[in-house]
């Protein structure tokens, strides 16, 4: 069940969903709320001509964060904007911090905006779900699938959140149901 704008605002008022700073009224639509682009991006370094490299997530010890720290540079978008050229991936974040307390019984999905999608801009790579219990800014995987550069500016509405009420409470919201218990023997 998707929350309407009224229910999202009620949940914000009740502290069941926290967005900091609170989005302005014009950021809401009937069933979503827009979030904006933070000025900081991580841009992938260019490989020197002749150098070949690949990412191997299956290697023991693979750590996505360490790898990304090594192969990207931090970049602050100037007020004049940043041209994302076709075919390029950059990492971005929302300016807003989102918190979905366990008690809220709400999960969310981050999705792109249709106006940006029509010029080829995607903001996530198949990982849209934000689970109950999440706290933080939302990392975006921004790709230009279009034929022309797309200018990214700080503060533009870059994505939208759709909130969904969960059916019942997840296991981790039931207080202490497994505390002090022992697991049933494994059945071989």
């Amino acid at each position: 069940m998707i929350l309407t704008d009224r229910e999202i605002k009620n949940s914000l008022a009740a502290g069941l969903i926290i967005i900091d700073p609170v989005p302005p009224d014009d950021a809401f639509s009937s069933t979503t709320v827009d979030l904006t682009l933070d000025p900081i991006l991580r841009i992938f370094k260019e490989l020197a001509p002749g150098l070949s490299a690949s990412i191997d997530p299956g290697l023991p010890g693979y750590k996505a964060k360490d790898l990304l720290a090594a192969v990207t540079d931090s970049f602050v978008i100037p007020s004049s904007g940043f041209d994302l050229v076709p075919g390029k991936l950059v990492l971005g974040w929302t300016s807003e911090r989102l918190e979905l307390p366990q008690r809220g019984r709400v999960a969310a999905r981050v999705e792109g905006k249709s106006g940006l999608a029509r010029v080829g801009l995607a903001i996530h790579c198949t990982a849209p779900i934000i689970h109950s219990g999440f706290e933080g800014t939302i990392q975006l995987e921004i790709v230009n699938h279009g034929p022309m550069p797309i200018k990214l500016r700080p503060g533009i509405p870059i994505c939208q959140l759709c909130f969904e009420q969960t059916m019942g409470m997840p296991d981790n919201s039931y207080k202490g149901q497994f505390l002090g218990q022992t697991a049933a023997p494994n059945k071989a």
């Binding site: 933070d38 900081i40 991580r42 693979y62 750590k63 996505a64 964060k65 360490d66 990304l68 720290a69 990207t72 931090s74 990492l91 974040w93 911090r97 366990q102 689970h131 219990g133 999440f134 706290e135 933080g136 800014t137 990392q139 997840p170 296991d171 981790n172 919201s173 039931y174 207080k175 202490g176 149901q177 497994f178 505390l179 002090g180 218990q181 022992t182 697991a183």
Partner: protein, 87 residues
């Protein structure tokens, strides 16, 4: 419920830090918001499973290896906050 973690570095963005979580299957790392950390402890939900001294808990975000639920030693769970939250 709070889980003892260790901050091991900064994230890719100022709104992120990286913490390490000792688990039954080795140390897992995940990115969290700095505000989530309180005295080296990370708020999590209640355990969803139990096996001897280990509890299966769900982390607020995926670890760098893609896990959401991990087995942690119960001694790393904040029993004091359990008492407070169940009171």
């Amino acid at each position: 419920m709070r889980l003892k973690v260790e901050k091991v570095g900064e994230g890719l963005h100022p709104s992120e830090v990286v913490v390490a979580v000792p688990t039954k299957n080795g140390t897992e790392e995940l990115v969290i918001h700095p505000r989530s950390l309180n005295g080296g402890r990370l708020p999590i939900g209640w355990p969803v499973g139990s096996d001897g001294d280990y509890r299966l808990v769900e982390l607020p975000r995926q670890t760098s290896r893609g896990s959401r639920r991990v087995w942690v030693d119960k001694k790393n769970l904040d029993e004091e906050s359990v008492a407070k939250e169940t009171a």
